[in-house]
């Protein structure tokens, strides 16, 4: 499989993963730049211009909330998870774990699947 093909599929896989990741990170209040840097520090990378639209969509659905902090030199927009967001995160993690378990079983049964 060629690079661009993997890239497209990876983007599709990332879409769901980023939702869980953002909901997991926002258990603690964070602003966009700090989230991007933290994710980068964990060995993963999210495009900066992808993160903000994602946060906006999550907020639109009421899964996260935001507020501007203007106490510092530069205004920062802090995000935090809502109770609805926690319920969604639990449901998404359940799906994630189920998928992970299925793949794990398949790879154990078929050693060729690597």
């Amino acid at each position: 499989m060629t690079g661009p093909e993997i890239g497209t599929l990876e983007t599709e896989m990332n879409r769901g993963f980023l939702h869980i990741l953002a909901l997991a990170l926002l258990e603690k209040d964070m602003y966009g730049y700090s989230m991007a840097k933290l994710i980068e520090g964990l060995g993963y990378r999210v495009e900066e211009n992808t993160l903000y639209p994602l946060l906006r969509r999550l907020e639109k659905h009421g899964w996260i909330a935001s507020k501007w902090d203007v106490s510092e030199d530069r205004p920062r927009k802090f995000y935090s998870i809502t109770p609805e967001g926690r319920a969604l995160r639990a449901a998404l993690l359940e799906v994630w774990n189920k998928q992970d378990r299925i793949l794990d079983e398949i790879t154990k049964e078929n050693t060729d699947v690597r």
Partner: protein, 329 residues
């Protein structure tokens, strides 16, 4: 604002342009501004022009950034996209028929409540048809747009006629295809030569053979001037078709078909520009009833318009095929 570097504001203005109409535009721009200033200060040592430039470059081109905020909802749902050209072609065929009626019967009429067809000549009709096609395309697109926006699962009928482009597969057998093209090219060349021979002998290719057994000279069908002009145009069409087949031996490019279609349409246009009244010579008029001559003139005109329709459909089909290949849709 005056203390902020100009490059950032210019960048945000460009994003703002692509986000016009969105209520949360200012909020989005504030988020991006905050992020870029934070990045420039943390990673590039401050908020000077050079640092901002680097942060802006990393954030991406304005249109790409704006598109991430736009809903992915299509103007026409993928399930209905195939209906766009199919319905337009049906509508345009009806439009073309009505135009032909308006031209042949020299009458204006209304197809209540949609359409007013004015009385028009052949030239006006040729000018009118491209506009009619765009109007038909627009009308179909508008209906499909409203269906898409309604979000309902409307099952639109799929009329089948001819071969679907989706099912079109190029003919198998390289040499078999080339051989058929070569035979066609030779036949067309022979026909063109024959037409040229008849033209040089009788001054026209449109002849009436009254009694073949008595081997009398044939009578020209049309008046000398019109007969010669029409003959030359028809021979040009034969020559163009011959040339296309010969070129086809060397390339399968659809552009050859597109150029051939365009040449054919131009020649048909030239044919249609000729006056069809008083076309026949007195010898022919004396042999047939005026009603028959009138019918023959109308039939000739309808036949030409039909050929023009077929060539136009083929032209659209070829352009769509080129577009699909180029943009992979």
């Amino acid at each position: 604002m005056s203390d902020k570097p100009r490059t950032l504001e210019t960048y945000l203005e460009e994003i703002s342009h692509f986000l016009s109409g969105r209520a949360e535009r200012e909020e989005i721009l504030s988020e991006i501004r905050s992020h870029i200033l934070e990045k420039a200060a943390t990673e590039h040592g401050g908020t000077g022009d050079a640092a901002i430039d680097k942060a802006v470059a990393a954030y991406g081109p304005p249109r790409k950034v704006a598109e991430k905020y736009l809903d992915d909802r299509p103007i026409i749902a993928p399930a209905y996209k195939r209906h766009l050209f199919r319905y337009t072609s049906i509508l345009f065929a009806a439009h073309l028929l009505l135009t032909a009626i308006a031209v042949v019967f020299k009458k204006s009429f209304i197809v209540f409540p949609f359409l007013y067809m004015p009385e028009m000549g052949v030239l006006e009709a040729l000018m009118y048809l491209p506009t009619a096609f765009l109007a038909d395309l627009g009308a179909v697109a508008l209906v499909l747009y409203f269906i898409t926006q309604s979000g309902k699962d409307v099952k639109l009928p799929w009329p089948r006629f001819g071969a679907d482009l989706d099912e079109f597969k190029p003919a198998k057998g390289f040499w078999a295809g080339r051989f058929a093209t070569a035979v066609g090219a030779v036949i067309m060349l022979a026909l063109t030569d024959l037409a040229l021979y008849i033209l040089s002998k009788y001054g026209t290719i449109f002849l009436y053979f009254e009694n073949l057994k008595e081997s009398r000279d044939p009578i020209p069908l049309f008046t000398p001037g019109a007969g010669r002009r029409l003959s030359l145009i028809v021979i040009a069409m034969l020559a163009a078709a011959t040339m296309k087949l010969f070129i086809r031996l060397f390339t399968r490019s659809r552009w050859v078909d597109v150029v051939s279609n365009a040449v054919s349409l131009t020649l048909i246009g030239l044919l249609l520009r000729q006056p069809f009244d008083g076309l026949f010579v007195p010898e022919i008029l004396s042999r047939f009833s005026p009603r028959f001559v009138d019918w023959a003139e109308h039939t000739l005109l309808i036949l030409l318009l039909f050929i023009a329709l077929m060539v136009t459909i083929d032209l659209v089909k070829n352009l769509v095929a080129i577009g699909r290949k180029k943009w992979g849709t």
